[in-house]
Symmetry: C2
Subunit: 224 residues, 2 copies
C-alpha cells in the first residue's frame, strides 16, 4: 500500500504538470494568434496547428475554442486589474480626469483584451458549459472588486457607481475597439472618404472623454 502510494503520487504529479504545460502551450498559441488578427478569425484548427496538436487531442484540455478564449479573457481581467492597482498604489488622491485617462490608457494598451471584452458576452460565454461560465464569472468578479476598490478609495464613489464605471469602461473599450476596426479594409474605407470621417474612431481619447464625464457626473451626485 505504502509502496503503491509512493510510486503513484509522483506519477500523478508529473501527469498533472504535463497537463498544465499543455494547457499553457494552448493558451500561449491562442494568445499569439489572437494578438496577430482579430479573435473572431482564429479557429480551433489554427490553434491546434500552432501548438502542434491534433484538434481532437486539444479538446481533452479545453471543451471548445470559446473556453480557450474565455480563459484568456479572465487572464486579461487579472492583468488589467493589476495595472490599475499598480497605478493606484503610486498615489493617494486622484481627479476624475486622471482616473479616466488611466482607465482608457490601460485598456487601449491591451487591444487583445479589448477584442475579447466584446466577444465574451456575445460568443464566448455562450459556447461553454455552465460550469466553465460560472468559474469565469467568479474570476471576473474578483477583478471587478479590485478595480472598484481603487475607484472608491481614489474618487469616493459608491460601490454601485464604481461597478457602473467599470462596466462602461470595459463595455465601451470593447464596443469602440470593434467600431474602430483597426487594420481592416473597413478602417481603410473610413479613412479614405471625408464623409466617413466620423467613423474613424480613435479609441483612447474618445474613451477618456466619456469616462471623464461619467466620473464627474457621479462625483456631482448625479445618481444618488
Amino acid at each position: 500500500m505504502m509502496c503503491v502510494m509512493d510510486s503513484a503520487a509522483p506519477r500523478r504529479a508529473r501527469s498533472a504538470e504535463a497537463k498544465q504545460e499543455r494547457e499553457r502551450a494552448i493558451l500561449a498559441a491562442a494568445r499569439t494568434l489572437g494578438g496577430e488578427r482579430s479573435v473572431r478569425e482564429v479557429t480551433l484548427t489554427d490553434i491546434a496547428a500552432a501548438v502542434g496538436m491534433h484538434k481532437s487531442a486539444m479538446l481533452r484540455y479545453f471543451e471548445t475554442r470559446e473556453q480557450i478564449f474565455l480563459a484568456l479573457t479572465a487572464e486579461g481581467w487579472r492583468d488589467w486589474a493589476t495595472a490599475v492597482g499598480e497605478w493606484s498604489a503610486d498615489r493617494t488622491v486622484a481627479t476624475p480626469e486622471a482616473v479616466a485617462a488611466m482607465l482608457a490608457r490601460t485598456l487601449v494598451a491591451r487591444p487583445f483584451f479589448c477584442d475579447l471584452l466584446a466577444q465574451a458576452p456575445m460568443n464566448l460565454e455562450r459556447n461553454v458549459s455552465l460550469d466553465v461560465a460560472y468559474r469565469f464569472k467568479m474570476a471576473v468578479f474578483a477583478e471587478v472588486a479590485s478595480v472598484a476598490t481603487v475607484l472608491r478609495e481614489r474618487l469616493g464613489l459608491a460601490e454601485a457607481e464604481a461597478v457602473d464605471v467599470i462596466a462602461t469602461a470595459t463595455g465601451m473599450a470593447g464596443a469602440l475597439w470593434q467600431m474602430a476596426a483597426p487594420g481592416t479594409s473597413l478602417r481603410e474605407l473610413y479613412e479614405s472618404r471625408p464623409e466617413l470621417a466620423h467613423a474613424v474612431i480613435d479609441v483612447e481619447p474618445r474613451l477618456t472623454r466619456i469616462l471623464t464625464a461619467l466620473l464627474v457626473g457621479y462625483q456631482a451626485g448625479a445618481v444618488r
Copy 2:
C-alpha cells in the same frame, strides 16, 4: 421606339416592384426570426425557409446573411431616432435625468435593435462588401445627426458631446443586452446562484444611471 419604351417601362416597373416585394419579405422573415431568438442563432437557411425561397435565389437580393441584418440595423436606427424625435417634439426643455431615462427606455423597448447594435461592428459590417458598409454608415450617420440635434437643443450639449452620448447609449445598450443574456440558460444560472447576483443585469435602470451621470458630467463642463 416609342412602342418599345411604352411596353418596357411598365415591365421594368413591375420587375422592380417584385424585387422590392421580395426584399421586404426577406427582411420581414429575418426580423421575425431575430425577434424570436438571438441574431447570432439565425442562419441564412432559416431565413430562406421562412420566406419560402431557395438560399441561392435569396443571394440575388442580399449578398450575405450579414447584409440582411445590417439592413435591419439601419432600419432600427431610423426607428429609434424617430422615437427620440417624437419625444423631443413634445417638450421644449429637459433635464439630464429625463433624457437619460428616455434614451434607455426607447433602446430597451427595442431588444432586437439592442442585439443588432452589438452584432453590427463585430460581425455584420465585416461580412458585407465595402459598398454595402459605406451605405450603411451613411444611413446611420443621418440618424445619429438627428438624435444629436435633440441632445444639443434639449441639453445644450456640444456636437462632439452629443455624439459621445449616442455612442455610449447605443454601445452600452448593445453590451449590457449581451451581458444580460435574456432567455438563456446563462441567465438562469445567474439568477439561481446568490454569488452571481452581480451578473443579473437589469438593462434599463443600469443604462439610465450611466447615461444620467454622463449627461450631468457633460453639462458640468467636464470635458471642455
